[in-house]
């Protein structure tokens, strides 16, 4: 029988989850530049809820 089962990894490496978005060195410059964005702008880019048309950011 040829069965492969792919399951979710167990949640045992908590620090990997807490520090998920590690930035590689070659992308650091862009990341520093993005720090100049207003908090609301950054939130808007992170938003996963709206239709990606932006919500007017009220």
């Amino acid at each position: 029988m040829n069965t492969q089962t792919i399951v979710l990894p167990a949640n045992d490496n908590i620090l990997a989850i807490l520090n998920f978005n590690k930035i590689a060195n070659d992308l650091k410059r862009e990341a520093v530049k993005a720090m100049g964005m207003a908090a609301c702008q950054a939130r808007c880019l992170r938003c996963e809820h709206c239709s990606a048309q932006r919500c007017g950011n009220r």
């Binding site: 029988m1 040829n2 979710l8 990341a31 100049g36 908090a39 609301c40 702008q41 939130r43 938003c47």
Partner: protein
């Protein structure tokens, strides 16, 4: 910033690297510095324009920033733009927008108080920019008649509708000048949208204001039960703007923590309550997505100008970088253009206020204080900074707590692979393939209850939504069976903790080729291997010979013969599943 979770694990946040580490670590010695702002005379990223078509509103929401209770802001009045103003604004937009498509959002007051003007503005914009413009309307929803909804939807306009929960919660604050609630009209609009357009029209966003988190659980519960609201999730939940005309208290850590632990427990119990999903998604969003990298030099101060993507045009044709600025902070007008001197002064003032305050602040990388806070005095900043730091610490605590409770990784349907088939998650794009399986005569004969629900696309979406809930609670899994990328059938398990049951169906074109046998075998083995249950049951019609053969070949035995059906059972002590 250090926190300890309820399991007594300590975590520290390090500003310099934006990292969370285990244990108690002190990084308070690193002195944060901001790069002084440079002079600017352009805003190269602007593509979004918020236009306040009127300062009039048919409601008098008690927390509104235009209620007359907020320093520096106008109160509601009859000021309204005209068609000539719209053309002048559009001329300004033509000169100013640096990228396309342009996004125009109508704001107020309540823009639909002057609906003909909104229609005019949309049509004029479409004439001018054709496909290079999109529109949205921020509305209290009370003036959305069916006719207006039809027109707005047909013109592709996004609707940002304010709703604070079901009736008792919404009408506690969102009232007209006589104190009458507005909920019924808003709900009617949402019901019409859902029943008539929603399946084809995803551009409805719901904005919720939450004056007090103490009402969040009852709001979430009632929302989930409401026959209209349950089809929507709030897009954004915000608190009240601090109002120093009244009292803005310094929050207390222990009180806040106790309150939010209650909320988290409720969310853990009810992951399907969409209001709680939005609430906690927004809380952990920064923490989940924050870029982890070390800073060793000065960094740009996070300020909108000059990298702002939007401009606000008020009903007197004055400009601001954002609609949240109080009326004192305008940076020009449609006729005179942007006053660059004033815009630069505001940014420099903001830098001066933050330069020293933030040097040793643990929340410097995540702070939500923005350019609008130049309106506040030093004492007011002290209060806001205190609360800002406290809430970030609270959100860090919740983030770590949710990680420990496995609430951050959403369970997903496991992908199973056999010789000819792939079993994986069924998505919305599969709905038409599912319809053809459910509309088959044999499927309807042998799975009548399910096919009854699945008569419409809405019914199928409800089934998919139910299985997402089952999955989140380890109570069931729905697999789509695919041959290459084509959905050819499904196999599902439900009620795993009480009455573990399996059922399945295949498109007639793919029957009698061994695919269902492979799939039932895979699903059965997965359920038993992962110890979700040790046995599975199913009922099969006496005449459904094909399914009986599938089950028997997968090691299921007849447990009971009834007059019209067989009850089959699979027990995990079987050492091997039969091969064909």
């Amino acid at each position: 910033m250090n926190i300890t979770t309820l399991h007594n694990n300590s975590y520290s946040y390090l500003r310099q690297t934006n990292e969370i580490v285990q244990g108690v670590v002190d990084d308070s010695r690193y002195a944060w510095t901001f790069t002084p702002p440079s002079e600017f005379s352009s805003m190269p990223e602007v593509y979004m324009f918020i236009i306040a078509t009127t300062e009039q509103c048919n409601l008098r929401c008690t927390y509104c920033c235009y209620s007359g209770e907020y320093e520096g802001n106008h109160s509601h009045n009859s000021r309204t733009l005209c068609e000539g103003d719209i053309q002048a604004i559009y001329d300004f937009i033509d000169k100013t927008a640096k990228t396309k498509p342009i996004r125009i959002s109508f704001y107020g007051g309540e823009p639909l108080v002057n609906y003909p003007l909104v229609q005019y503005a949309i049509q004029a914009g479409q004439q001018r920019w054709e496909d290079d413009v999109t529109f949205s309307v921020s509305t209290n929803g009370t003036l959305l008649t069916e006719e207006r909804i039809d027109w707005l939807v047909n013109n592709g306009v996004e609707l940002a509708i304010s709703i604070d929960g079901t009736q008792p919660f919404h009408d506690a604050y969102r009232v007209d000048a006589k104190g009458n609630g507005s909920y019924t009209k808003v709900r009617n609009a949402l019901a019409y949208l859902h029943n008539n357009t929603f399946n084809q029209y995803p551009k409805v966003v719901l904005m919720m204001t939450l004056p007090s988190v103490s009402t969040l659980i009852p709001i979430a519960q009632a929302w989930h039960k409401d026959e209209v609201l349950q089809h929507y999730a709030p897009t954004h939940i915000s608190g009240l703007t601090p109002n120093f005309f009244q009292v803005v208290a310094k929050e207390d850590w222990e009180t806040l923590k106790a309150q939010y632990i209650q909320l988290l427990d409720a969310y853990e119990q009810h992951p399907e309550w969409s209001v709680l999903q939005t609430f906690f998604d927004e809380i952990v969003s920064y923490w989940k997505n924050r870029p982890v990298f070390e800073v060793s030099e000065s960094t740009p101060l996070s300020t909108c100008m000059p990298v702002n993507t939007k401009l606000y045009i008020d009903a007197t044709l004055q400009l601001a970088v954002c609609e949240k600025f109080n009326d004192r902070f305008r940076i020009g007008s449609i006729n005179d253009g942007i006053d660059w001197q004033k815009a630069n002064e505001m940014t420099k003032e903001y830098y001066r206020k933050r330069k020293n305050r933030c040097t040793y602040c643990p929340a410097v990388r995540m702070c939500n204080m923005c350019l609008t806070s130049i309106a506040y005095t030093d004492d007011q900043w002290d209060t806001l900074c205190h609360n800002e730091r406290l809430y970030h610490k609270l959100h860090m605590f919740l983030f770590c707590e949710m990680a420990e409770r496995s609430m951050l990784t959403k369970p997903s349907v496991p992908t199973l692979q056999s010789e000819h088939c792939t079993l994986n998650e069924i998505e919305r794009k599969d709905i038409s393939a599912l319809r053809s399986i459910f509309s088959d005569a044999d499927t309807q004969r042998y799975l009548p209850y399910l096919c009854d629900i699945a008569q419409t696309n809405d019914g199928i979406k409800q089934i998919l939504k139910s299985f997402r809930t089952y999955l989140s609670k380890n109570e069931g899994i729905l697999w789509g069976i695919r041959k290459h990328d084509t959905l050819i059938g499904f196999v599902a398990t439900i009620d795993l903790s009480t009455n573990p049951t399996i059922f399945f169906a295949m498109h007639p074109k793919y029957r009698n080729q061994g695919y269902m046998q492979e799939s039932v075998r895979l699903a059965t083995q997965y359920i038993c291997d992962t110890k979700l249950t040790n046995e599975l049951h199913t009922e099969v019609d006496l005449n459904n010979i094909a399914s009986q053969k599938v089950l028997e070949r997968c090691g299921y035995k007849v447990k009971e013969e009834q007059s019209l059906r067989f009850l089959y059972c699979y027990q995990n002590y079987n050492t091997e599943l039969q091969t064909s």
